[in-house]
């Protein structure tokens, strides 16, 4: 009898294989190396980037990889100049460098990237943020891109960090938000001595002034208009690094959350017409739970507790906790990192790229965090290391996470990581991770451990923007309802796959899929098959 009661709950819990990540970088033929120009002068740009992205640039159904490079700084020479790189997915686990052919090898001092279909022609265009003028590459649909920055008028010359596309006014055209960090320049450069031991260190954000970000409205004729101030986004108070759009208040339009470095974070709620008002303080997402500003780096929005509301996650500096804001459902959030189990595991790391995603396809979203310190000399003055291992926190239910430490796999590698992008590049039904590292090769972390069922949804707008950015989807499977939203940008300086991936656990069917398009149209699908990709075209639901 006793055995019966002990066995029953065990049998009711699906058993999943442990996550396992394999460092596939070299075998995949990714020979890209990031250069940051560092020569000891401690220009702070050297340690902030880079990001990277997964996106299917040629529409062959396979995720390709874009990687951001740095450039020379005063006193450094490179020949040839470092450039960004595009790797084409051959479909056999390997990639080919097609940068030159595609024409996307920008040589600016790169930071990050974001994708969106700016002219609704069915392919993804690419925006690159730089320290200096940003670049917009229009996808020509034939495997090549055209630099249309000047014509489109989107070459903001500030220090661009994360960027994201979103249709803020729901006119069917994606607009573009660029988060600018601060006003560092080579002329106001200085070195800071904090940290002791007489070491010359990078200056923190306090040493510089915030600058305004830029919101570009897509005019539909190949040009964009700067509407930052008119849209209520003209504050220069923040020092933006992380940018994420999402429908926080579930009113059908994209809101904007910005992670700021040592200034309070912003939550701009959209009034439905593309005008925004910052509600972060009242919503409880401006500060951490103790009322302190933190060094916000990366950011994500996701419904990790499957309650239908999007929650927020912000990565922060070493000795600070990463912050998870849980929606209370009344427009406010609470920050309870200790209760979430995210405190002890994060305090020793300096964190950047991040995402809620279902690593093991068990039906709830786990959390990945890319780590690495700013200072190569940190070990001389602090109990910390420059390269750090990245972290995976498994969602164990009840709002709690537990760190999963892998022995010997790619998760145990120590790198100086920054951006992280997510997508199933090997098309095996689980989410892989691309991590961009400072002054080093990226890490392509192939996920080999997921065992649950899954479904992948590709959204294609008609009245809405073609890439479906901003589309919210509810998937009901095995009695569990999950929600997610198609996003551009998010994480840190990076672009993840715009397709939506849902782990389904042991469920072998999908009862219902509800699609909330940015146009306002709501469509419902039933009985979609599992372990496959579905293309959902706006207006095509029966």
């Amino acid at each position: 009898m006793l055995k019966f009661f002990l066995l029953l709950p065990l049998l009711s819990v699906p058993l999943y294989a442990n996550p396992r990540f394999y460092d596939a970088t070299q075998g995949a033929g990714i020979d890209f190396v990031h250069f940051n120009g560092a020569n000891g002068q401690k220009f702070v740009i050297e340690t902030v980037g880079p990001g990277g992205g997964f996106f299917d640039y040629d529409g062959d159904g396979r995720l390709d990889i874009y990687l951001i490079n740095g450039a020379a700084v005063p006193g450094t020479d490179y020949d040839p100049a470092p450039q960004n790189a595009l790797y084409h997915n051959r479909g056999d686990g390997t990639f080919a460098d097609v940068t030159a052919h595609a024409g996307v090898g920008d040589t600016g001092y790169g930071m990050g990237c974001a994708v969106g279909d700016i002219e609704n022609d069915g392919d993804l265009d690419l925006y690159v943020t730089n320290f200096g003028a940003n670049v917009l590459y229009r996808n020509e649909g034939d495997g090549t891109f055209a630099d249309v920055t000047v014509a489109a008028q989107v070459g903001d010359e500030g220090w661009g960090a994360s960027a994201a596309f979103a249709d803020i006014d729901r006119d069917g055209l994606v607009d573009l938000y660029v988060g600018n960090y601060h006003n560092f320049s080579y002329t106001n450069h200085r070195v800071c001595a904090e940290g002791g031991s007489g070491l010359q260190l990078y200056c923190g954000p306090e040493a510089f002034d915030g600058v305004t970000d830029v919101l570009y409205r897509n005019e539909g004729d190949g040009t964009f208009a700067d509407i930052t101030t008119a849209a209520g986004l003209g504050s220069a108070e923040g020092k933006e690094l992380g940018v994420v759009f999402g429908d926080v208040d579930l009113d059908g339009d994209p809101d904007l959350y910005l992670a700021n470095d040592k200034t309070l974070n912003f939550l701009y709620l959209n009034d439905g017409t593309g005008h925004f008002a910052d509600e972060a303080l009242l919503a409880g997402v401006a500060y951490n739970e103790d009322g302190d500003v933190e060094a916000g780096m990366g950011v994500d929005m996701g419904d990790y507790d499957n309650d239908g509301d999007p929650d927020l996650f912000v990565t922060n500096f070493q000795w600070e906790t990463n912050t998870r804001y849980i929606t209370l459902g009344d427009g406010t959030f609470v920050d309870e990192p200790f209760l979430a189990g995210l405190c002890k595991g994060s305090i020793a790391y300096l964190s950047w790229g991040t995402r809620f995603f279902d690593v093991d396809n068990d039906g709830d979203r786990d959390l990945f965090i890319a780590n690495g310190h700013l200072e190569s000399d940190v070990e001389q003055y602090e109990n910390a290391t420059f390269p750090q291992r990245n972290q995976l926190f498994l969602n164990v239910g009840d709002g709690r996470f537990e760190e999963y430490a892998e022995d010997g796999g790619a998760l145990s590698l120590k790198r100086v990581s920054r951006g992280a992008a997510f997508g199933d590049y090997d098309d095996d039904g689980d989410i892989d991770v691309l991590v961009a590292n400072v002054a080093a090769r990226p890490t392509l972390m192939r996920n080999d451990g997921a065992s649950g069922h899954w479904v992948r949804l590709r959204l294609e707008g008609r009245d809405s923007n073609r890439a479906g950015i901003g589309t919210r989807v509810e998937v009901t499977s095995g009695g569990r309802v999950q929600t997610d939203e198609v996003r551009s940008g998010a994480s840190y300086l990076s672009q993840s796959d715009v397709q939506l991936h849902f782990g389904l656990g042991t469920a072998t069917g999908i009862e219902r899929v509800v699609v909330y398009w940015p146009s306002g149209r709501v469509e419902e699908y039933a009985d979609l098959g599992v372990n496959q990709e579905h293309l959902l075209v706006e207006g095509a639901a029966r």
């Binding site: 800071c192 001595a193 904090e194 940290g195 002791g196 031991s197 306090e206 040493a207 303080l281 009242l282 409880g284 500060y287 739970e289 103790d290 009322g291 302190d292 500003v293 000795w319 406010t332 609470v334 309870e336 200790f338 209760l339 405190c343 002890k344 305090i347 020793a348 003055y381 602090e382 109990n383």
Partner: protein, 456 residues
């Protein structure tokens, strides 16, 4: 909290008694300078204290106590490299000087050099296992590093030696909060506030524990107590706002959040200035800005110290001297205020603000003739200034020259007719100068103002 503890420790050390006998010659001069420096430091006048200690150190280079107090004064001025050099000099003279080693560790913490700070604190404990402050400070470093087990060990060791130390309980409670042990955290923090019922920081922590325990009414109570004991505790306002939000009192929560935000912005500015000064201690404008920020918060002693150093770095600044004079005035240090205003006027005899302020301080010193002269000069330079006329009116009335008083006060009343107090004094001046009708007219106006409630 850590800063407070360090400051308290430093302050206590500044008060070090002079135990050696006064010796003749240079040693005696050094001793006199040391005493002067100590007195200045105890008044928060660290810039001048440093001068005295440095002169003393030249005369008595082998005196550990002079270098030690010099280090403390530098530390109070946020000049950490100089402070560290002074403490290291002490340790070169006397490697067993526990306080110098402790304070050197504190300087390492200021520079985020935790590893070195830990080493120095450990040495302190090996020299003096009863050095209670070090148990706290070392524990706090481990707390910052997230090494909570070490914090527990150190604080328990401290409590074994002094079981009534509220600070130990507070940090222990905060540590248990971080360890998610909310019940023990609450009990520990309750013990802290039992031992020190005015410990605002402990109440803040308690409020945060109660929020975690979802005991929102208790959180509100603790946060309100914290604010009662420290109206500048932004964490307390934040905790209170959160408690009110969770209690469904959204409007109150919003009001408190606004207070929190205003306070946070002020504190941010101060933090920015302090950080800037850590990198550029000779930036006089940054010192003055810091002084201004402290003034806005009512932290006048700290403001005066910031301005003293600004004046020291830029002695020809009228603004710095005038503002320093104003702070002395508000602190009741009238003689010092006179010195600063006079210095400003020596730089620019036409500086109307300094004349006005000098008049104010002379009034408080009851040097009325000089006050009249200063205010008259201020009036000459700024004839539109209403308050100058008002105070001149008061001064003339005090010397019995009511006609002159009425002349001055009538200018003030003409400019600000709702100024009830000026009108009352004008009515008296008219009466005493024989202008009865004018006095009645003023009294009627005063009566009307009182009835209508429309007056300043």
């Amino acid at each position: 909290m850590r800063v407070l503890m360090i400051c308290l420790a430093l302050y206590a050390c500044v008060q070090e008694e002079i135990k050696e006998k006064v010796r003749p010659g240079a040693a005696m001069d050094a001793e006199v300078l040391f005493v002067r420096g100590t007195a200045l430091a105890s008044e928060g006048r660290h810039t001048e204290a440093i001068d005295a200690y440095r002169q003393a150190a030249v005369l008595a280079p082998g005196s550990a106590k002079i270098h030690y107090n010099l280090g403390n004064a530098y530390a109070r001025q946020l000049d950490y490299p100089s402070a560290m050099a002074a403490y290291q000099r002490v340790l070169a003279l006397d490697s067993t000087h526990v306080s110098a080693r402790h304070n050197l560790a504190a300087m390492y913490v200021k520079q985020l050099n935790y590893a070195q700070a830990i080493d120095e604190h450990r040495r302190v404990l090996s020299l003096d296992p009863g050095h209670l402050t070090t148990y706290y400070d070392l524990g706090y470093i481990y707390f910052l590093r997230g090494e909570y087990g070490e914090v527990e060990k150190l604080l328990q060791a401290g409590l074994d030696r002094d079981s009534t130390n509220a600070s130990f309980y507070r940090l222990l409670g905060r540590t248990r909060l971080k360890e998610l042990d909310f019940e023990r955290a609450a009990a520990t923090l309750m013990r802290a506030v039992e031992l020190d019922s005015m410990d605002a920081a402990a109440y803040v922590d308690l409020a945060q524990v109660e929020l975690k325990r979802r005991e929102y009414a208790a959180a509100e109570l603790a946060a309100r107590r914290a604010i009662a004991f420290d109206s500048l505790s932004k964490e307390a306002y934040f905790a209170l706002a959160n408690a009110l939000k969770r209690l469904g009192r959204r409007e109150e929560s919003t009001e408190v959040l606004a207070q929190f935000r205003a306070l946070d912005q002020q504190l941010d500015k101060i933090d920015d200035q302090l950080r800037m000064l850590g990198n550029a201690p000779d930036d006089h404008e940054a010192r003055a800005q810091l002084g201004l920020l402290y003034t806005e918060q009512g932290r006048l002693t700290e403001a005066a110290e910031a301005y003293r150093l600004a004046v020291r770095l830029a002695p020809d600044s009228l603004r710095y001297r005038n503002n320093l004079g104003n702070l002395y005035l508000r602190l009741g240090q009238f003689a010092e205020a006179v010195v600063e205003y006079q210095a400003a006027l020596a730089l620019d005899p036409e500086y109307d603000k300094a004349h006005y302020n000098l008049g104010q301080v002379y009034m408080r010193l009851q040097r009325f003739d000089e006050a009249v002269a200063s205010l008259a000069e201020a009036r000459r330079l700024a004839p539109e200034d209403v308050e100058t006329h008002y105070f001149l009116g008061l001064l003339h009335a005090r010397t019995g020259d009511y006609a002159k008083a009425a002349e001055m006060l009538s200018v003030a009343v003409a400019a600000r007719p709702d100024w009830l107090d000026a009108r009352q004094k004008l009515a008296v001046a008219y009466l005493k100068s024989g202008k009865v009708e004018e006095s009645k007219r003023e009294l009627a106006a005063i009566q009307q103002m009182k009835e209508s409630g429309q007056h300043e």
